[in-house]
Symmetry: C2
Subunit: 456 residues, 2 copies
Amino acid sequence: MQKPSIPRGTRDFGPLQMAKRNYIFNTIRGVYERYGFAQLETPTMENLSVLTGKYGDEGDQLLFKVLNSGDFLSKSKAEDFESGSKTILPKIAEKGLRYDLTVPFARYVVMHRNDITFPFKRYQIQPVWRADRPQKGRYREFYQCDADVVGTDSLICESEIIAMINEVFTALRLPDFTIKLNNRKILVGITEVIGAEGKEGDFCMAIDKLDKIGLDKVNEELIQKGFSAKSIELLKPIFEFDGTISEKLTFLKDYFSESETGLKGVAETEEILNYLSAYKLENDHLELDLTLARGLSYYTGTIFEVKANGVQIGSITGGGRYDNLTGVFGLKDVSGVGISFGVDRIYDVLEELELYPESTATQVQVMIVNFGQTMTTQGIQLMQSLRNEGIRTEIYPDEAKMKKQMSYANNLNIPFVVMIGEDEIAAGNYTLKNMIDGEQAAYKIDDLISKIKNSR
Amino acid sequence: MQKPSIPRGTRDFGPLQMAKRNYIFNTIRGVYERYGFAQLETPTMENLSVLTGKYGDEGDQLLFKVLNSGDFLSKSKAEDFESGSKTILPKIAEKGLRYDLTVPFARYVVMHRNDITFPFKRYQIQPVWRADRPQKGRYREFYQCDADVVGTDSLICESEIIAMINEVFTALRLPDFTIKLNNRKILVGITEVIGAEGKEGDFCMAIDKLDKIGLDKVNEELIQKGFSAKSIELLKPIFEFDGTISEKLTFLKDYFSESETGLKGVAETEEILNYLSAYKLENDHLELDLTLARGLSYYTGTIFEVKANGVQIGSITGGGRYDNLTGVFGLKDVSGVGISFGVDRIYDVLEELELYPESTATQVQVMIVNFGQTMTTQGIQLMQSLRNEGIRTEIYPDEAKMKKQMSYANNLNIPFVVMIGEDEIAAGNYTLKNMIDGEQAAYKIDDLISKIKNSR
């Protein structure tokens, strides 16, 4: 008999992990909904014609492909097999697994453009799959939690997203995090100032690695990509200037005296900060990071990333503004701004900092001890009374030894156990045992209910 | 430019559909949790070694298989290709998509048997995939909502499940439904009485079709399968006897005078009904249907199915007791009982009977009209005050024409719109427009909040 296993890079989530994950999902969902985003779900499988070519060559490699049903070889010939995997692939597989939530969202917007009222604010919480090499913190199946507004250029949307980030991490009680902010127009402006116009792609690719490889290596890469020594020299102040957000903006206005695009980026940032001041956040956690680039090429305006300070982990949230979400599907001028919370990393951060509320460790609140047939009816009646009060209750199903029943309650972290004896029934009493402090006393039903409810 | 599409048999769920689906999911989830079930999630992809052979030959055909990553042909030779799909399959695909929630649950129990405290009560709400021919009401991706208790023979679990079914459909306000109950031991007893011992497989297969093909065709099939004319004669009273549950049980006690197994089935049913009476359900919706068989071969005790009366649709919920969940993975004697709610059919039933609460049609509760820059700060401040009260609020992001903003609110069924004019700011007032009755009045902020809250 073969021992069963699960595919590499995938995970089972048992009850305790699910409770913690739901705590994160529900927090994010609650904020998204309070901010007026509505939920969308798209199929797990998408046609490969929709997915292929949207994530670069590497992405195409990492797509999971689903074999056609039935006799999947029926459309392919021996020479397709001889030419290898790439040739035969389109003849045996037409579908792939969702790789991110952005492309399916773009596909949805295009297919439903006549029914959607724009601006369209949608959120989506679903798993995605990537055939990456699994390693610590990197899985082949993981959840994304995205929210996007499309169909408007209003920078209020950017301020809304920053406020949402604040609300989510404040609700999750993360003590120290930084929302790094930048703008692709600022990055374009920098390439203009340093005489490397049109090279913002290479520029972003290089400085995106700053944290990982350091400034010297970044400069080496830039020179390799054809940036002049003078460019590197002119770039220095960008890496060196330190100060508050408003000091940085003042510095940039001077630096960009010759770059209209750069000044546009500064003006956008100022407008967003202006909106944001109306939110009256206790601490906005904001930092203007002029070296923040984000890899994805489709961003065109504000970009942001969140760092959990004091934890060795990459960014836990990211997003930005794009000008052309749906162009690849033939629908032009749909711009928007989006955010993606990295739930798996957030999970690890909360775990490391021990930030989960105690209540996530318990599911069932009350277990009723099973003393066998004659008492079962009483037990079920009490159980239903508690459930009708919204209390998660169960009766131990078997008339097992007391020790076994108690150890079940202990293992499941059930905080209360109720015992019903014959004498007690006669007196209308129930014995409630607090499994945490071991205290035990008899109560009438109403007192029992309030005792349990007040402990939550 | 190719028009994007989604794979046959799959669906996008837009905001309104999601709200309705979440209403069903949350109702079921709430009941499961109140009854002490804890959530489990398993990976979308399982190893084909886990899935294959568990669902019969037809099931193996209907599994979606995922191509191995990278050069998937590397392990296969030309002769594999020549021999066809079945030969090459195991060399190019090792993973498949989840086909139901039962096999992954069994796999989980076996893999984690040393960490699990039994009895183990888990629920699982996840999509499954089947390469069935799509048709009305049958999809290639659909959700299952399962709950199972394993590791106990206690019949309290059966009564718990019947009570859960009652709670779910009562909460969903389904006016008329029937929980059909039977027991595989009763069916075995019948084959013993009619002299067809050991043929309960064929017997169940045949009578499972009673609703579809009628009694004559069922008898024809039985005769084809080698049942004698005398058997068919002895079977008659089972189809003909009509009466209350207790009348049927009395009849069966007589019918089973020679069948120990049959009498065991009757005794189990009586015990379950006895527990159930302690739940004091207003209406238990129960019917003992001696012809209920359920196709799946692994059931060994009580079986049940739910029918929505007055709607042309198959069973909307089903389940039963099995003796050997995990034997196929080498772990013996794990018995249990489970239930599966068919969300897609329940969705259709609620749609047809118009049973969705009005609140599922609205997401955002308040839209604040955007009168442009000078008023934006005021708008954002008000918006945050409402959100802090838990009210789902948004500001229209652009300074668009009033008509456009109002039509946005209308299209999204937003019940309230707030307008902030300069005069009103001076007086500390906000104009609230009720989009349903058109009424419009000015309020101080506290009155505004209670007006909105009380409308929910």
